[in-house]
Amino acid sequence: MSFQLVKEIFLDNWPMYLRGAGMTIVISVISTILGAIIGLLIGVVRTIPESATRGKRVILKVVNTIFSAYVEYFRGTPMIVQAMVIYYGSALLFDIHLNRFVAAIIIVSINTGAYMAEIVRGGITSIDEGQFEAASAIGMTHFQSMFNIILPQVIRNILPATANEFVINIKDTSVLNVIGVTELFFQTKSITGNNFKFFESYFIASGIYLLMTFTITRILRHFEKRLDGPQNYDLVGNQMQV
């Protein structure tokens, strides 16, 4: 291997690498956001306190069982297999012929959602009981306290774990090549199909993956700091404090 060769391959194929990287990023960003929303919604529903009326209790039980099954299935099976099952299954069973890009988004989102549901549940349980009580005490309903008080704190707390999911998604979208999504791995495979320089071509791909994950981590770290707000506050009015 020579760096000369790596450089040549990159210069010859950079539009393909770029398109692949773009696809990887787009799928990861959209799916991480959608996955986080799925996780938050499941988290909110799962923490609804037990209702006094029997009907509501039964409905809640059924919904929670469905959520549990969802989480278990998607955490307990490889995404590469899920991709096959959903992409070919939707065509075979429901006659829905998904666009590969849409299929990719769906697969990664619901996969992320399963993990995020557990992360959010942990995040909600870690919030001090007093926050719920204070919200209830001023007359907030479960959903009001969730959206105004609890979730803003949960989101801050789960941000590091979400960043983790994001990084995992950037890497794991590579498995989507099995259903022909033209992400970075797929593009690299195409490049090697022409030049047969497997090591050099994939070495470039690894560099691009690393660049993406590293950048994303930095951006999210910065975002965390912004969410924390300033460390100082200004007193209002110019009198001395009493």
Binding site: G130, A135, I138, G139, M140, T141, Q144, R156, Y233
Partner: protein, 246 residues
């Protein structure tokens, strides 16, 4: 006197531990009632049952003539009529001081932001925290947090203020600033129900003192009578042990 709260044969158990056994008492408008008693006597549970943070097992809570334990009562609306101040402050950690006092008004009472801020400022001034509106709870001392918590409850303009050991988690030097605010509120004619270990406050500020022991109201009466002339032996016992410690 207009009766605001009337508690009738209230019962509450945690498992087989009966915490409240047949509690009967009432609060009139403008009255300041202090509930005293040793730890584990059920004082806090009683307060938490009144605003339904704990679900009572039996009995009635009559608020303005209606039993709020009946199933057709809107619990959320009822809770807005009671202001609760917690031992651990429980300020909303994600919101600054001003928004702590406006969020309930805006989201629950449906007031406009301008109106909510105006009302919040009014009560933040009462507790002397109006200069700190931009601070986050974690940047405040315990006493400051508790004063904001009082303003948050007041901003909902409740009929009754419930205080659950509001000074028990405070450093000794901060107890004074919170008690001072509470005393001012009492003088403003607010209806207050205070669970406290501050015997000085109970003696000086309250119209009536309720002594609880082992899940029942052992004795109730005017502060002079309870503190100087308790009828029950266990009241005497309790007062001797607490006052001695000071």
């Amino acid at each position: 006197m207009e009766r605001v709260l009337d508690i009738q044969s209230l019962r509450k158990s945690f498992g087989n531990n009966e915490v409240l056994k047949n509690i009967n008492f009432s609060v009139d408008k403008g009255e300041v009632v202090c509930i005293i008693g040793s730890s584990g006597s059920g004082k806090s549970t009683l307060l938490r049952c009144i605003n339904l943070l704990e679900k009572p097992d039996g009995g009635k809570i009559i608020y303005n003539g209606r039993n709020i334990l009946e199933s057709n009562i809107n619990v959320y609306e009822y809770r807005t009529r009671l202001g609760m101040v917690f031992q651990q402050f429980n300020l909303f950690n994600n919101l600054n001081v001003l928004n702590n006092c406006t969020v309930g008004q805006i989201k629950v009472l449906g007031r406009s932001r301008e109106e909510a801020e105006e009302i919040a400022m009014k009560y933040l001034k009462v507790v002397g925290m109006d200069k700190y509106i931009n601070a986050k709870p974690r940047q405040l001392s315990g006493g400051q947090k508790q004063r904001v918590a009082i303003a948050r409850a007041l901003a909902m303009e409740p009929d009754v203020m419930l205080f659950d050991e509001p000074t028990s988690a405070l450093d000794p030097e901060m107890v004074g600033e919170v008690l001072k605010v509470m005393k001012e509120l009492a003088e403003m004619g607010l209806t207050m129900l205070v669970v406290t270990h501050e015997m000085g406050f109970a003696k000086e500020v309250s119209d009536r003192v309720v002594f609880m022991d082992k899940g029942v109201i052992a004795e109730e009466g005017e502060p002079e009578q309870i503190f100087n002339n308790p009828i029950q032996e266990r009241t005497r016992e309790f007062l001797r042990s607490t006052l001695q410690a000071v």
